[in-house]
């Protein structure tokens, strides 16, 4: 089976940037040729005129909720949302029920994802048993079952010694830690960013320091142990500064942020809007700007969504009682393209942030070269569209971006040479 994607603007930053045809044979890239180059006859031809064709987008931070909370999302529905958003691969966090802390659960997730046959799913397994922060899990087993990284996402590993040992032990199996950085003693029951808005609403505030203090610890531990560490969902200017300094002195640290941290501030909480409640919380304008600077100068390596589905009834409660998180798979590209349209970053930067860098961090190649798996995103970066949560492929609707007018979206997603989504 041979497929040809013709007339598209192929963009593989630092490698290809121009009109090319892409030939795919049996799920792998066969050749990338100048337009019009004659090869064997293709069984299927996709016309990508007016579109950009990029290496597949990768979201290295999502919650697929299965097993355990299938009313919020399933692996299948989450993958459907992923490919609709232009993602060819996602990394799913282990805070399922039961927690993904055993090889049996990891391989079950892999099987379910294969059954769905949409996006690639790389499970992130738990650092400690039950996300309890105490007992290290069987990393060798988890790795063999398909775990790509380790994280107690949602729960910080409070004990410094435990995190040190986890970083050290993970090295033996070529795994790395994704750290959810939060000093719970400073969070102290807070539910939104600390500041004038929280004070006015009478809500408990979360200081920036609760994040950056833990970021500093993880950087120190990575330095001490010679491990690499990835910092999840960076939201504060202090964290950006700490990561920038650490990178400058050669610490093996990488980091992600999410679209809501560069699109929104604490003002979005408005009058107790639970769709603006997440952890870490939306921060100040100064933080939002620092996040964009971090994306511009490479301090922040990638954009991940922290896609966190919740049922409507769970968010329709007083603010204090609402669960944290919003979904992001179907809005991430459109929101990130805002940075391209307003001139903050180039389209090549965006492809690095959403595809190349996550692939590098996850230890996989995704260059558009012969022999590589044909994972591709076809995007129209200009088309204007309105975010309508009711039309999401995700089972959940919890987004603060409903009604937003965005420019640019995925119009086709190819995974392993198969067109798994077409607008």
């Amino acid at each position: 089976m041979r497929m040809k994607i013709e007339n598209g603007h192929v963009l593989d930053p630092g490698h290809i940037d121009g009109l090319r045809d892409i030939w795919i044979l049996d799920g792998r890239i066969e050749a990338v040729t100048e337009p019009g180059t004659c090869m064997e006859k293709a069984d299927e031809v996709l016309d990508a005129a007016g579109l950009f064709v990029t290496p597949g987008l990768i979201d290295m931070h999502v919650h697929l909720r299965e097993p355990g909370q299938e009313y919020k999302e399933t692996i299948e529905s989450g993958c459907r949302a992923a490919v609709k958003g232009g993602f060819t691969a996602v990394c799913c966090m282990p805070n399922t029920r039961p927690v993904n802390d055993h090889a049996g659960i990891t391989s079950w997730i892999v099987q379910q994802a294969e059954k769905a046959g949409l996006a690639r799913v790389y499970p992130v397994a738990a650092i400690t048993g039950g996300l309890g922060g105490q007992q290290l899990n069987e990393y060798a087993d988890l790795k063999a079952a398909g775990a790509i990284a380790l994280s107690d996402d949602g729960m910080p590993v409070v004990d410094g010694q435990t995190m040190r040992r986890a970083m050290e032990y993970a090295q033996a199996f070529d795994l790395f830690i994704i750290s959810h950085c939060e000093d719970l003693s400073l969070v102290a029951g807070g539910v939104m960013n600390e500041g004038a808005v929280a004070t006015r609403l009478g809500l408990g505030g979360i200081p920036n320091l609760s994040e950056s203090l833990m970021v500093e610890r993880e950087i120190g531990l990575a330095e001490l142990t010679g491990s690499r560490v990835h910092i999840a969902h960076v939201s504060t200017r202090e964290s950006v500064r700490a990561i920038r300094q650490a990178k400058a002195r050669g610490v093996q640290v990488t980091a992600e942020t999410a679209p809501h941290y560069f699109c929104l501030t604490e003002e979005a909480v408005g009058e107790y809007d639970t769709l603006a409640k997440m952890n870490p919380p939306l921060r100040s304008e100064a933080d939002r700007k620092a996040i964009i600077e971090g994306l511009q100068d490479g301090t922040l390596d990638c954009i991940a969504t922290d896609h966190a589905p919740h049922a409507p009834m769970e968010k329709e409660v007083p603010f204090d009682e609402a669960p944290n998180g919003i979904i992001g798979l179907e809005t991430s590209l459109g929101l990130s393209l805002k940075l391209v349209h307003d001139g903050s970053i180039s389209l090549g930067d965006l492809v690095r942030l959403m595809s190349k860098n996550p692939a590098r961090i996850l230890g996989m190649g995704n260059d558009l070269v012969p022999g590589a798996p044909a994972d591709l995103t076809l995007m129209d970066i200009r088309a204007s569209w309105t975010v309508v949560p009711a039309s999401f492929a995700s089972l959940s609707r919890n987004t603060p971006f409903g009604g937003w007018q965005l420019r640019g979206q995925a119009v086709g997603t190819i995974v392993g040479g198969r067109l798994v989504y077409k607008i």
Binding site: A196, A198, R200, G202, V317, P318, D320
Partner: protein, 312 residues
Amino acid sequence: MYFSRKDILDIASLSVEEMTHILDTAQGMKEISLRPVKKVPTLRGKTLILFFHEASTRTKTSFDIAGKRLSADVIALAKSGSSMAKGESLLDTVKTLEAMQPDVVVMRHGTSGAARFIAGHLKCGVINAGDGRHAHPTQALLDMMTIREKKGRIAGLKVAIIGDIAHSRVARSNMEGLVKMGAEVRVAGPPTMIPKGIESYGVKAFFSVDKALEGADVIIMLRMQKERMNNVLFSTEREYAREFGLSEKRVSMAHPDAVVLHPGPMNRGVEISDTVADGSRSAILDQVENGVALRMALFYLLSGGVRNADED
């Protein structure tokens, strides 16, 4: 003026005209409580539900009496006696209550924003009787009523609010109301009890009670919540009383005619001394009396304002 609000959720959303209208209406209601037969038929046939999700004695009693003096049917519910104790969600509980066709629901809840939350789901009027740390509009209005009564005005007065500002809904509502009415508001307490962004209220914050009291016309003391001691907000009651409590000596820093308010219940000997609480400047019992009149006014205004059941 025509009062068109469905709910009273906080002070921030009320205009100076609306607050003045409420205070004027309350002033007129006061006389009813002094009659030998303390009841008028104004709200006959109206149903008021008092839904107190958090412990309260004086506020609940005040709303209860206010409704009854206007001849409304008043039903009081507490969390322990409601289905919420059985795990029903707040939304389901209030929707169930609404199906019983109340005219006004009064709610107290431990969560900030809870009153706004239910108001968004109810067609009937909602009065916030205190939600978390957010707002306590009826307390602020009765405080303003008391101040106006004692001082003849609010604009231009120096008002000092002393205590745990960070965790106080009374402080927030009073700051919003008094600043809007033209008072010069100072707040004071230990730095642990002064929240971030306090300047945005247009008030001046002090860590020294003496400084905040200089020349004050009105002193509003807040209740020191003893359970907060676990949150490392202060050291000991002894030190708190000495450094931040209102003693006779401290009152003398204020204007000679200063009045002292306290929303109650008081911790005598902690935030306020016996002699001050019972002294000649104390307006604490006037606050309680005005509270009934103020709540009568709000029930009246929210239930249509100009009509009574007989005219329908």
